[in-house]
């Protein structure tokens, strides 16, 4: 292999000499231990034996230190391999010799390049290694002449940008942001403006929940913190349903609605926050509750939000008794009116609203 082809910083001659030096060091260390193992040789006097043993051992130690010094000198000459790994640690994947069966690194490079916005400024543009060109069936052809851009044509990235733009336009119409930060705030300011409503003391959260608990007689709220600081509420509404509310400080994160007779605990007695209800009506109400917690938003006053959500939830006490306000019937596709209007709290079937 020619000098400095793979890694321009490595002195390959010094490298091979250093390997030889390691072997020499190994053998001198072995000799030193052998000398110790053999012990004293036969001499006429005890003094003579001791002297010869000590001198032999000293010689072997000298040779060890000499070899070690040689190795250190050579290792300084060898130098560091180039830090020029594109994609940093993933460049180590390129050391895998089974290139044909798992062309992982080259595919990784291709994917990165394709998804990268700016074709010209990517760090991959520094990858000019002709060694990789040997494996031509792995890399695409190098007929592209523009700007070191070996990989996917620019049209792919343009398409991606176009679709991303469309998607962001559509998503921004329904503002689902619940934090108080505005978009486009300069990067310098963002880390400093820590949203204070996210870091509330647990005692405050407990107080707010207790107050809401006392607000409605037919609704009882049980608060627990089995997993760290986020509160988990078990809201029981009359004998109609139970709601598990997972909170993040005073913001409602997720809800699951289950029937009054369904089990809300797992086998080890903890609150089960993941499994869905067995009944279609409560699965529907869960979806509506998720919509509600996204609808009621006031980043600066989260306790008002929780209060509104609970008021909305309380309207479900008449889930099975109230007919739909629009069609007047109780059942639609086997479901009672599961939708509650956010302002008027009237009952509608899911298909009857608006």
């Amino acid at each position: 292999m020619a000098d400095g082809v793979l890694s321009p910083g490595v002195n390959l001659e010094a490298f091979s000499q250093a390997i030889a030096a390691i072997q020499a060091l190994r053998s001198s260390v072995t000799r030193a231990f052998d000398c110790l193992k053999d012990g004293m040789r036969h001499r006429e006097t005890l003094e003579g034996r001791e002297k010869s043993f000590v001198s032999a051992f000293q010689d072997s130690l000298h040779s060890v230190s000499r070899d070690l010094g040689e190795l250190e000198r050579l290792s300084n000459l060898v130098g560091k391999p180039s830090e020029n790994h594109p994609l940093h640690n993933s460049g180590l994947l390129s050391l895998d010799p089974v290139q044909d069966k798992t062309p992982l690194y080259s595919q990784l490079l291709q994917a990165y390049k394709w998804s990268n916005k700016d074709c010209g400024n990517s760090p991959l543009s520094t990858l000019e290694d002709p060694a990789w060109a040997d494996d031509s069936k792995v890399l695409p052809s190098r007929t592209q002449q523009n700007d070191h851009c070996y990989f996917a044509p620019a049209s792919n990235t343009l398409e991606l940008q176009y679709h991303a733009g469309l998607a962001s336009g559509l998503l921004n119409q329904q503002s689902l942001k619940r934090s108080a930060n505005q978009m486009g705030v300069s990067a310098k300011r963002r880390p400093k403006a820590q949203p204070t409503t996210l870091v509330l003391p647990p005692q405050y959260v407990d107080d707010v929940i207790n107050r809401i608990d006392r607000m409605f007689p037919e609704m009882s709220i049980q608060l627990s913190r089995p997993n760290g600081t986020s509160a988990m509420l078990l809201v029981t509404l009359g004998k109609v349903l139970k709601v598990i509310v997972v909170m993040r400080s005073l913001f409602i994160d997720r809800t699951i609605v289950k029937g009054y007779n369904e089990n809300v605990y797992t086998e080890d007695g903890k609150l089960d926050i993941w499994s869905k209800s067995n009944y279609q009506v409560f699965q529907k109400v869960t979806d509506h509750a998720t919509t509600a917690l996204l609808h009621y938003q006031l980043p600066q006053m989260p306790d008002v939000v929780v209060r509104s959500f609970m008021t909305w939830l309380r309207s479900y006490i008449k889930l099975f008794q109230a007919p739909c306000q629009r069609c007047g019937k109780f059942l639609q596709d086997g479901l009672p009116p599961t939708w509650r209007d956010f302002r008027t709290l009237e009952a509608f079937h899911d298909t009857c609203r608006q």
């Binding site: 004998k239 109609v240 029937g259 009054y260 007779n261 009944y279 279609q280 009506v281 409560f282 099975f320 008794q321 007919p323 019937k329 109780f330 059942l331 596709d333 086997g334 479901l335 009672p336």
Partner: protein
């Protein structure tokens, strides 16, 4: 256990029990219900033995021992206006031991067998009531599983029953009146079945020509 209503479906004019059951099940399937296996509810009658009655001459009480395939490990024992006991399946063997006090009126054994349908959160069981070898009527049980308070969902249940039973939709069961706001339990279903079976027993037997 959800709120359940057990009622009797009268046999259609000029048709047999079997044919009426078929009409009903076809209506259910048109509605979109899925067949989910079979069910069986049976009831045995026990008289209090004469030897225990003493001189007061009080009428012997009738005890009903019932089983429901929905609760295969349980056995229900009830008096007509009295309490309902829910025991495990070994209760039957216990009754054999209590032969001296309760005598089995074997001829009065009555049962309802049929298919089970599920539609959304509703469970519908349409069964043929037989006493011995003869079919005596049709029982329809409708359960709304998510609700546990009886009076809450009566209107909902009625609307559902009207969709496939039409004019034969029953009125509110008597057990609902006693429940107020307490939770519905399987014992209430068994009381309803017991009342249904008693009613069918008293009815005149369906004429032979109409039977299969």
């Amino acid at each position: 256990m959800g709120v359940t209503c057990v009622s009797q479906m009268p046999v259609a004019e000029g048709k047999s029990v079997q044919q009426t059951v078929e009409i009903l099940t076809r209506k259910l399937e048109l509605l979109g219900a899925e067949k989910q296996g079979t069910f069986c509810v049976d009831c045995e009658t026990y008289h209090t033995a004469a030897s225990t009655m003493g001189n007061q001459g009080q009428a012997g009480k009738l005890m009903y021992v019932m089983h429901n395939s929905e609760y295969p490990l349980s056995c229900f024992a009830l008096f007509e206006n009295g309490p309902c006991l829910i025991a495990d399946a070994n209760f039957d063997i216990l009754m054999v031991k209590l032969k001296g006090f309760f005598q089995n009126a074997k001829a009065n054994k009555i049962e309802s067998r049929g298919t089970r349908y599920q539609y959304c959160d509703f469970l519908v069981k349409v069964g043929t009531v037989t006493m011995g070898p003869s079919a005596r009527g049709i029982s329809v049980e409708v359960e709304y599983c998510p609700c546990v308070v009886a009076n809450d969902c009566w209107n909902l249940l009625m609307e559902f029953m009207q969709s496939f039973m039409g004019n034969h939709t029953p009125g509110i069961p008597s057990v609902f009146g006693n429940k107020h706001d307490s939770i519905y339990s399987p014992a209430d279903s068994m009381v309803q079945y017991m009342e249904l079976f008693n009613k069918i027993r008293k009815q005149q037997q369906v004429p032979v020509a109409g039977m299969r």
